[in-house]
C-alpha cells in the first residue's frame, strides 16, 4: 500500500499543494487530472522527495518512500530532458540498472538481458543504436517506458506521458499499464488531457492544489467537480470530500 498523508508543498512562498491525502493499493492504475499549474508534477516530485515537503509524509509498506527509491520507477516530463544529449537508446535504458548494479560495477549478461527485454516490449529494440535525439516524440517516450520497465520497480510514477505522443505509443503505454497492474504494481499517471482514455484508469484524482475529488472516473468528472477544479477559487475542498473507499 502506497500512502500519501496530508502532503503540503510551498515553493518559495507560493502554495504548491495543500493537504493532499490518498492511498493506492497494489494492482491499481490511478490517474491524476487537473488544469495546468494544478500541482500534478509537484505531487509526483514531492512523493519522491525531489522537492521539500512543508508538511505530510509518503509511506510505502509502512516506511517512508524516500528511503526506498530503488523500488520506484519515475518517468519525467518530456520537457525535462535534453534530447540533444549524445546518448544511444540502449544506454538510456541501461540507466535503469544503475542503482541495482551499485557503485564500481559494470553491467553483465543478466543486466543486458533485462534491458533487451524492456526494449523489445515497447518495440524499440531495433532502434537501440540510435541517438535518442533522432527519434520521434512517441519513440522517445517508449524508450523512457522501457527504462521504467527495466528498473523492475514496484511503484511506477508517470508525469504527463501522453504529451507529444502518437497513437501507437499511447496504445503501448496502456497495454503496459495493464500488464503492470496484473503483476500487482502500483501506477500513478498524471495528464492534463486524458481524452478518451479516461475510462482506462481504475481511479482518478482531480487535483488543483488540493485534492478536489477521488474516485471512479465517472464519479469524479461531475460538472460540479470540474467547475471547482477548472474555474478558479470556489468553495474550498474539505477533508470530507477526499474520503474514498480506497482510503485506509
Amino acid at each position: 500500500m502506497l500512502e500519501v498523508q496530508e502532503l503540503a508543498v510551498n515553493y518559495r512562498g507560493v502554495l504548491g499543494l495543500e493537504a493532499v491525502s490518498f492511498a493506492i493499493a497494489p494492482g491499481q492504475l490511478v490517474g491524476v487530472i487537473g488544469p495546468n499549474g494544478a500541482g500534478k508534477s509537484t505531487l509526483i516530485k514531492a512523493m519522491l522527495g525531489l522537492i521539500p515537503l512543508s508538511h505530510g509524509i509518503v509511506r510505502y509498506c509502512t516506511c517512508p518512500l524516500c528511503q526506498q527509491l530503488e523500488r520506484v520507477a519515475y518517468v519525467p516530463q518530456r520537457s525535462q530532458i535534453d534530447w540533444d544529449y549524445p546518448i544511444s537508446v540502449w544506454n538510456v535504458v541501461m540507466m535503469a540498472r544503475t542503482r541495482r548494479l551499485g557503485w564500481f560495477r559494470s553491467p553483465g549478461r543478466a543486466t543486458r538481458e533485462i534491458v533487451r527485454a524492456a526494449l523489445e516490449r515497447v518495440d524499440m529494440l531495433r532502434f537501440r543504436h540510435r541517438r535518442i535525439g533522432e527519434l520521434s516524440g512517441g519513440q522517445q517516450q517508449r524508450v523512457f517506458l522501457a527504462r521504467a520497465l527495466a528498473q523492475q520497480a514496484e511503484i511506477f510514477l508517470f508525469d504527463e506521458p501522453f504529451t507529444g505522443v502518437d497513437k501507437p505509443t499511447e496504445a503501448i503505454l496502456f497495454e503496459v499499464f495493464g500488464e503492470l497492474k496484473r503483476q500487482g504494481k502500483i501506477l500513478l499517471v498524471s495528464s492534463h488531457d486524458w481524452g478518451d482514455s479516461l475510462n482506462q484508469v481504475d481511479r482518478l484524482l482531480l487535483l488543483n492544489q488540493r485534492l478536489i475529488a477521488d474516485g471512479r472516473p465517472d464519479q469524479v468528472m461531475t460538472p460540479d467537480n470540474i467547475h471547482r477544479a477548472y474555474c478558479g477559487t470556489l468553495a474550498p475542498a474539505y477533508p470530507s470530500d477526499v474520503e474514498s473507499p480506497f482510503f485506509c
Partner: protein, 279 residues
C-alpha cells in the same frame, strides 16, 4: 618534414611544453564534455576566474598554489549554487556577478599582498616556461580525474543526462555535483600553466564541442575530444615555436579552427555535408 618536427625536441623547454600540452589537451575535453552536456560551459570560465584570489593568497602564505586555487574555485562554484537556491537570480546572471567579483578580488589581493605572482603567465599561460614540477602536478591531476571519471562513469552519465531521474532513483546528486565541480576545478588548475585562466575555457569546450558534432555517444565525445585536444595542443606549440606566436592563444586558435572545420564538414551534422532534408 621530420626535421621540422624533431628539431624543437632538442630543447628541454619544448619537450616540457609538448608534454604538458598533451596532458591538458587530453584532460580538458574529457571534463569539458560534462560541462557542455549540462549546458554549464560558462561555469568552467567562472571557476577559472575564481581561482585567482586563492592563488594570490597561497603565494602570500607560501603554500602550494594547488590548495589556494582549489579553494577559490570551489568557493566560487558553491557561491553560485547558493545564490541560485536562495533567490530568483538565474544562473547566467549569478555567474557573471561571481566571476567578475572573484576576479576583482584576485587582482586586488595580488596588489595589496604584493604577491610575486606572474599575472601575465597566469592569465594567458606560459607553456614554454613550465617546470618539471608543473608537469608532475598536471600529470597527477590528470590521472586522478580520468580515473574517477572511469570509475563513476555510469553514475555521471545518468546524472548529467537526467538529473531529476537520477535523484528520483536515489543517487546522491549533491555529492555527484560537488565531485564534478571539484574535478572541473582541478582540471582548470592543471591547465593554467599551459593556456592561462582566461583561455582555459577554450580548451574545456572547444575540442569536446568539435567531437560533439562528429559522434553520438558521450564516451565517444570524450575520446574524440581528447584526440582533437591533444592535436590542437601539439600543433599550437609547434606554430608558436616556428612563427613566434604566443603559445596559449596559438593552441586555442588551432582548436577553434578544428571546430569550424567540423561545423562545416561533419558527415552527419556539417553545414556543407549533412544529408539534405526532404522538403
Amino acid at each position: 618534414m621530420l626535421h621540422w618536427l624533431l628539431d624543437p625536441l632538442n630543447y628541454e623547454f619544448m619537450r616540457n611544453a609538448l608534454t604538458i600540452g598533451l596532458l591538458v589537451g587530453i584532460l580538458c575535453p574529457v571534463m569539458g564534455t560534462y560541462l557542455i552536456v549540462q549546458r554549464m560551459a560558462m561555469l568552467g570560465d567562472v571557476i577559472a576566474h575564481c581561482v585567482l584570489p586563492g592563488l594570490s593568497i597561497s603565494f602570500f602564505l607560501g603554500i602550494d598554489i594547488l590548495i589556494g586555487a582549489f579553494g577559490g574555485g570551489i568557493l566560487g562554484a558553491l557561491f553560485i549554487t547558493w545564490v541560485r537556491s536562495q533567490s530568483r537570480v538565474k544562473a547566467d546572471a549569478a555567474m557573471a556577478l561571481t566571476f567578475s567579483s572573484f576576479f576583482a578580488l584576485g587582482i586586488t589581493l595580488i596588489s595589496v599582498l604584493r604577491s610575486r605572482v606572474d599575472l601575465d603567465g597566469l592569465l594567458f599561460g606560459d607553456i614554454l616556461g613550465v617546470s618539471p614540477i608543473d608537469i608532475l602536478r598536471t600529470a597527477i591531476i590528470a590521472v586522478l580525474v580520468l580515473a574517477a571519471i572511469k570509475i563513476f562513469y555510469k553514475e555521471l552519465l545518468f546524472y548529467t543526462f537526467d538529473r531529476v531521474g537520477a535523484q528520483a532513483m536515489g543517487l546522491p546528486v549533491d555529492v555527484i555535483y560537488l565531485g564534478l565541480m571539484a574535478a572541473t576545478t582541478l582540471t582548470i588548475i592543471a591547465s593554467m600553466q599551459a593556456v592561462g585562466v582566461i583561455l582555459v575555457i577554450a580548451m574545456l569546450v572547444g575540442p569536446a564541442l568539435t567531437a560533439y558534432l562528429l559522434v553520438k555517444e558521450l564516451h565517444q565525445m570524450m575520446l574524440g575530444g581528447a584526440v582533437i585536444g591533444a592535436l590542437a595542443s601539439l600543433i599550437g606549440v609547434y606554430l608558436s615555436y616556428y612563427f613566434n606566436l604566443p603559445s596559449g592563444p596559438a593552441i586555442v586558435l588551432v582548436s577553434s579552427a578544428l571546430f569550424v572545420l567540423a561545423l562545416l564538414l561533419s558527415p552527419s551534422q556539417g553545414i556543407l555535408t549533412r544529408p539534405k532534408t526532404q522538403p
